[in-house]
């Protein structure tokens, strides 16, 4: 596709359930980033992929969060045993070289 695609656009889940968020980056972009934006907050960095490897996982808030990327393309962010504080908009971005990040429209996660 022409842009970064994220699915689902909205997800409501019960506390304690696992969720999986998907990101399709722009074709050819080797770098992929996950951010989240909680209410009233800026964009919080979660994890960065270069190809399939994740050299920087420093932003993952806890071990309930994990992410993988296969084939240098699609990435999934998994949150296990969701908590209410996980409610946020999760944004994926991709880039190639020194180009600015291109963001998807995000997944709005609500944990009830």
């Amino acid at each position: 596709g022409a842009g970064v695609s994220q699915s689902p656009s909205n997800k409501v889940t019960e506390k304690g359930k696992d969720v999986e968020l998907r990101c399709d980056p722009i074709s050819g972009h080797t770098a992929l980033y996950w951010y989240r934006q909680s209410l009233g907050q800026g964009l919080e960095f979660l994890i960065y992929f270069q190809g399939n490897s994740a050299p920087d996982k420093s932003g993952l808030p806890s071990d309930r969060f994990s992410a993988e990327r296969t084939g240098g393309s699609v990435s999934t962010l998994t949150i296990q045993r969701t908590q209410q504080e996980d409610s946020a908009v999760y944004l994926c971005a991709s880039s190639q070289g020194a180009s600015p990040l291109h963001f998807g429209n995000g997944t709005r996660l609500t944990v009830t």
């Binding site: 964009l43 960095f45 920087d56 971005a93 963001f103 995000g106």
Partner: protein, 116 residues
């Protein structure tokens, strides 16, 4: 500790006037600064950037000014139009500043409202 600060959560400007959005940073290692614009239910989109070797960059109605000694940058929009109503994020990048290879650290954003 916030390394990039946007102290105004919102700003209201009349159509046709100048909008000035401000951003302060604390990390002297930052060497590249960007502004992103975000509409509701959409992802942020890149607007304009500036390298630390410059003090001004202009693109149409948008100009970004950088004052390195004050660790301050600003985005000027002239003239402001209704379509400019959005949340504007300031972002900074530098070596070892975290956030992956691109090292972007974002502020909390300023909601710009252009009044007709």
């Amino acid at each position: 500790d916030q390394q990039v600060k946007q102290n105004s959560p919102s700003l209201s400007v009349q159509e046709g006037r100048i909008s000035i959005l401000n951003c302060d940073y604390t990390n002297s290692m930052f060497d590249y600064f960007l502004w992103y614009k975000k509409y509701p239910a959409e992802g942020p989109t890149f607007l304009i950037s500036i390298s630390s070797i410059k003090d001004k960059n202009e693109d149409g109605r948008f100009t970004v000014f950088l004052n390195k000694s004050a660790k301050h940058l600003s985005l000027h929009i002239v003239p402001s139009q209704p379509g400019d109503s959005a949340v504007y994020f300031c972002a900074a990048r530098g070596p070892y500043s975290g956030g992956g290879a691109d090292g972007l650290t974002f502020g909390k954003g300023t909601h710009l409202i252009i009044q007709p």
